[in-house]
Symmetry: C2
Subunit: 184 residues, 2 copies
């Protein structure tokens, strides 16, 4: 892994850059062949660097995931546990709704795959866990809620609003609804 040829690394970077554009333009279903074409490499090379669409998507969103985790760490020490928790949830939703294809990755919880602890949803869960725990201890969340539940819910909201006129606004609206409850 560490011993990777320089040209390979360059190609990887170029392909990743193209992939970002392509996913932004066409969502999770972006064509791998199209990415190869635009990047000026053979389709086999793309497949070598990203075995399967899933891997490509994860790579595309990796830094954003990292940013969200960082945000989670920042909020861990905030004064108001509930506000911090909700802000994290809001940030997650906002990004997922604005980045096409992101929710698709979040939604998939393939068992055999999730064992690869690098799965992005796992990272996110680790990031939100302390926030949820603090908020729960303060009595600010319904008992029994797990971070996985939240990630799944957010993914669902975003997936379902993806085709709407204003996905970001709609997702935000629904998140608020879910936080408050439909019929408490």
């Amino acid at each position: 892994m560490a011993a990777q040829r320089a040209d390979a690394r360059q190609n990887y970077a170029r392909i990743l850059a193209v992939a970002e554009d392509e996913v932004a333009a066409h969502g999770a279903g972006a064509s791998l062949e199209q990415i190869a074409r635009t990047a000026g490499v053979g389709s086999a090379t793309v497949r070598r660097h990203f075995p399967g669409r899933r891997a490509m998507l994860e790579a595309v969103f990796a830094n954003r995931i990292e940013a969200l985790c960082e945000r989670g760490r920042e909020l861990a020490g905030a004064a108001d546990p509930r506000a911090a928790f909700l802000e994290w949830l809001g940030a997650l939703t906002a990004y997922a709704a604005s980045a096409r294809g992101f929710a698709t990755v979040l939604a998939q919880e393939d068992v055999d795959y999730a064992e690869h602890a690098k799965a992005c949803s796992v990272k996110l869960s680790d990031s939100g866990e302390p926030l949820l725990r603090r908020a729960a201890r303060a009595g600010a969340v319904t008992p029994g809620v797990t971070v996985a539940d939240l990630v799944t819910l957010v993914a669902g909201i975003v997936l379902a609003t993806e085709g709407h006129a204003d996905p970001v606004a709609e997702a935000d609206r629904l998140l608020r609804l879910v936080v408050a409850g439909i019929s408490p």
Copy 2:
């Protein structure tokens, strides 16, 4: 439309039956060509009866939609508005979670398409509307909630749980969470 040849009607029925099996087995992504092959007709014939996967899926779920609407009508006169409303919501979720591909149809709210008032989500909305209204008048739901919100939420929950170990149970769990609220 009314003047349809007998053989065409027979073919339609056969194709629809096969399509139901195929969707049940492979979800919303079932191959139209595979359906044609199994039904023993040319792929063009399938395309003629169902122009686009969307149309096929709607036809497959049409009677179930109708059943759900009927359930909605029954519940309209129930004693407890809140219980009736929640039961309808639960029934919708349960069916969507158990019928592969259904949520996909529900999630799509294509604007130009929705104008075709026959869209199944529209039918469902019409069915749930009175229930929601009654429950709202009884003060049992958060103000501002629309039926469209609910359908979207349910679709999202089901979509996001589709890949989980026990989708039906998971969807039910999340629905409960959403009804109660995460942090009321």
